[in-house]
Amino acid sequence: MQRIGVFVCHCGTNIAATVDVKAVAEALGHEPGVVISREYQYMCSESGQNLVKDAIKEHNLSGVVICSCSPRMHENTFRKAAAAAGLNPYLVEIANIREQCSWIHKDIATATEKAVILGRAAIAKVHLNAPLTAGESPVVKRALVIGGGIAGIQTALDIAEAGFEVDIVEKEPTIGGKMAQIDKTFPTLDCAACILTPKMVECSQNEKIHIHSFSEVTDVKGFVGNFSVTIKKKARYVDETKCTGCGLCTEKCPMKNVPNEFNMGLDNRRAVYIPFAQAVPKVATIDPNYCMMLKTGKCGVCSKVCSVGAIDYKQQDKFIEEKYGAIVVATGFNPIKLDKYEEFAYSQSPDVVTSLELERLMNAAGPNGGTLLRPSDKTHPHTIVFVQCVGSRCDDSKGKPYCSKICCMYTAKHAMLIREKYPDTEVYVFYIDVRTPGKNFDEFYRRAVEQYNVHYVKGMVGKVTPKSDGKLDVQASDLLANEQLHIDADMVVLAAAIEPDKTARPLATMLTTQMDTNDFFTEAHPKLRPVESATAGIFLSGACQGPKDIPETVAQASAAAAKAIGLLCKNSITCNPCVAHSNELMCNGCSSCEKVCPYGAITYQDKEFRMPDRTTAIRRVASVNPAVCQGCGACTVACPSGAMDLNGFSNSQIMAEVDAICK
C-alpha cells in the first residue's frame, strides 16, 4: 500500500488569494493512499522543505505530491529535499496550482475546485511512480562558438584562457563582425579598431582557439556534453594554409566594380579580396559571383601573380565534423532593410544614409579616408539631420516593436564627432525619447547637447524630399514648440532598427533552442539565467539574445563563457533518467519511432526470441540509447504497438492522471 504525503503551498498570496489552500489540503487528505496532507505559507523555504523531509521520515512516505508553482520553478528543489530524506527523488510529483490555476482564475470557488482536481491527478500519477536512477555521461572538453564578432571573440578568449579548446565558426571571410566596421565607440570615443583588432590577433595566436572563417554550421546532433556538429567550410578558392595575405592578387584582379560590403557598398572592391587590412585570418577570398575565371574560365590573373601558389579555382566546399561539450551562440545583429521607409527617401537620394553607412563614411579606412563628404557630389555637408527610431518602437507590422537600444548613444556620438571635426556643420537630431541609461551614458548625451550644441528636437520626421538643387527638404514636427519644421539638409542619417542575423532562425532549429517572435534567442530565465538557453549546453552571447551595445555584449560574452567553462570543467554530467525505453516483446520493428526521434537516439538490432512453439526467431527491434534520449516522448506517441514508453511519464501514468481529472 502506498503512503503518500501531500503538501499544499500558499506561495504568500500568489496561490492563497484565489485558492482556498486549507480546503485543498483537507480534500486531498481523503484521497486513497494519502497518509498526511499539510499546507504551508512558503513550501520552498527552508522550513517548508523541512516539513516535507520530516514527514517523509516520520510517516515513512512512499510518494510525495507538492501542490505549488510550475515544476520548471521548483521541481528540482523538492526532489533534492526528498533525496535528502532518503526518498528516491523521482517519487515526487508537482501539481501546478499557481501558473495553471491561481494566476489565471479569479473566482475562489472554481479555482479551489480546480486545484483539488490537479492535486488528485498528481496523486493518481504518484501511485504509479517508480524509483529512477540517473546515469552519467562524459563531457567533451571542447567548446564551439558560432559567430566571430566581439561577442564570439570575447567568449572564445575567456574559454581558451580557462584551458579549453574552442572553435569559432564565422560565416564571413574574417572575424570582427560589426564592431570592425565601427569608427569610434561610446562613451569614451576610443577607436573601435584599436580595441578590437588586438583581440582578433589574440584569437588567431592562441593555440587553444581555432578559427573556421567563411564557414557555417550545417548540422547539430547530440546533447549537452556531447554535441556532434557538422561545419561547412565554404570554398574561398584560396588555400588558407598557403596564402600569406600579401594582397597582391587583390590589387591585380581586373574586376574592379564589386560592391564592397565592408564599406556598406559605398565603394568597390575586386573579385578577389581581403575585407579590411586587419582581417583575421588575413587570407584572400575569391567572390565566385564576380570572378571571371570561375564564371567563364578566362582570366587567371590572381593565380599568375600569387608567388606561393595559393589560388585554387577547383576548391570545393568542405564538410568537417567535430565533437563539443558546449555551444555558445553569438550570431549578432544586422540593421533592418529600409525599403518600407521610403518616406525618408533612402532609395531616392544617395545622401540619405544609415548610421552604419555613416560609420564607414567617417572612418579613416572608409571610402573617403575619414573626411565626411556627401556621397552624391563629394562636397562637405553643412546641415545634417539625424532621424532616430527608424523601424524601432513601431506599433505596426512594418517595423520592430522593441527599442533597438544602441541608437540614442551612437547618434549622440555621431553628432558630437561631426560638431567636433566640422564646427560649421549644423546637426539636428529628431527623437521620440532619448534613452541613455548606462554608466557615463547620460553625461555623454548631455555633452552633445550642452557643449557641442547639437539641436535635439522632440518629434518625428514625416518626409524627406530630395530637391533639384541637391538639398534634402526635411519636413518634421517639433512637438515641444508645437511647430512644423522644414530643414534644408545636405545629408539625412537614419538610425535603422537592428534585428537578429538571418542565420539565427535555422540555427535555432538545429540547436532545438527557443526564439521569441522577433527571432531573438530566448534565455532560460529572463532574470536569473540570462546567458543560458532553455536547451542544456547551449549558451547565448551578445545581440543574438537582444539588442546590446559593446560593453553589455562583452559582459554577456564573458558570462556565457563562464557558464560554458562551468560545464566543461566537469568530467561527466548527470543524465535525465526520464528517457524512453522499448518493450522488445511488443516492438514490431516498424521504424515509426526512429523517424520521429529528433535526437537520433533510436537504433535497431536483430535479436533472438523464443517463440511460443519453442522455436527461436530473429526479430528486428528498437533500442533506445539512454545517453542520447532527451525524454521528449515523440516516440511513445508514434509507436503503433505501444512498445515505447517513457520513464516517469509512462502511458499508464498519463492515463491515470486523465482518469483522475475526469472522475
Binding site: K340, Y341, E342, K398, K463, K467
Partner: protein
C-alpha cells in the same frame, strides 16, 4: 462578365466627366459591367459640417445598402467618395451603437451592418482584374513614359479603414503604371496634401502645397502626373504653377486599352 454596382458621385457628373467616362469604357473592355443604381445621392462628403456625426453617414449607408440589395460589390472611383463610403462601411460594421442609431433612423427593410464589399476602381483592377491580365490587354503601352503617381491624402488614409495599401509607401498606382507599360517615378511628395478645399479660402496656401507636389515629381524626372481625385487634379493643374501635365488615371487606362479616341468623339 462581372457586374458591380458603380457609384460615380457628384463631381464625376459635372467637373470630372472624363474620370467617369473612361472608367466605364475601360471596365467594359476588361470584362466588367459597372451598373449605376437608379437613384443615388451625395456620398456624404459634403455633410462634414453637420453637428451629429451619424447624420453625416446616412447617405453613404443608403448607397451601401442599395449595393447590398443588388447583391453586388460597390465600386467607386473618386478618392473622396471612396474615402467617405469605405470609412462609413468600416465604422458601421464595428460600432454597434452607431449601427443601431443609423438603422433606427433609416428604417431599412433589413438593417445594414457593413455587409457590402467596397472597392476603389484601382483595387478592382488589382484584385479582380489583376494587373498581369490588364497588361495583356494593353494595345498602346506608355513605353518610355515616366509617370508620377499622385495619391494625395484621401485615397489611402485612414489606412485601417481603407485597407488598400501602405499609406506611406504605397505601390498600387505604380503597379498600375507598370501594367499600362509606363515607368513609375517614385517621388517624395506623392502622398502629401495638394491643398484641398483650402483653395477656396487661401489660394496662396493651396498653391504652395500643390507646387511642392509638382516640383518633387518634376525633380525626379516625371513626364506626367496621374491622380484619382478631382480636387487634386484641379489643384495640381490650376494652382501649382507647373506645366507638367496632370491626368486622371482612367484617362491613361482608356488610352492604353485603345479606347480614348472613341470617347473623345
Amino acid at each position: 462578365m462581372n457586374t458591380f454596382t458603380y457609384y460615380p458621385g457628384c463631381t464625376l457628373r459635372t467637373k470630372a466627366k472624363d474620370l467617369d467616362a473612361y472608367a466605364r469604357s475601360s471596365a467594359e473592355a476588361l470584362g466588367i459591367i459597372l451598373e449605376e443604381p437608379s437613384d443615388w445621392q451625395c456620398c456624404g462628403g459634403a455633410y462634414t459640417t453637420a453637428t451629429n456625426e451619424n447624420a453625416t453617414k446616412l447617405s453613404a449607408v443608403r448607397t451601401l445598402n442599395a449595393a447590398k440589395e443588388l447583391g453586388r460589390p460597390l465600386v467607386t472611383v473618386c478618392s473622396a467618395c471612396h474615402n467617405v463610403i469605405k470609412q462609413t462601411n468600416y465604422d458601421i460594421s464595428r460600432d454597434e451603437q452607431m449601427a443601431f442609431k443609423i438603422n433606427n433612423y433609416l428604417k431599412l427593410d433589413e438593417p445594414y451592418n457593413g455587409e457590402t464589399t467596397v472597392y476603389h476602381y484601382l483595387e478592382m483592377l488589382r484584385d479582380v482584374v489583376g494587373f498581369n491580365n490588364l497588361a495583356q490587354k494593353v494595345v498602346n503601352p506608355f513605353k518610355g513614359k515616366k509617370i508620377a503617381a499622385y495619391y494625395g491624402c484621401l485615397l489611402l488614409r485612414p489606412s485601417k479603414a481603407l485597407a488598400m495599401d501602405d499609406p506611406e509607401n504605397p505601390t498600387i498606382m505604380e503597379d498600375f503604371i507598370k501594367a499600362i507599360g509606363g515607368t513609375p517615378v517614385i517621388y517624395a511628395q506623392r502622398n502629401e496634401c495638394c491643398g484641398g478645399y483650402i483653395t477656396m479660402e487661401d489660394k496662396a496656401q493651396a498653391a504652395k502645397r500643390s507646387g511642392a507636389v509638382m516640383n518633387s515629381a518634376e525633380d525626379q524626372g516625371a513626364d506626367m502626373v496621374i491622380t484619382a481625385c478631382p480636387l487634386c487634379l484641379y489643384n495640381l493643374k490650376k494652382n501649382s504653377g507647373s506645366s507638367l501635365p496632370v491626368y486622371y488615371f482612367t484617362e491613361l487606362l482608356a488610352e492604353a486599352l485603345g479606347l480614348k479616341e472613341a470617347n473623345n468623339e
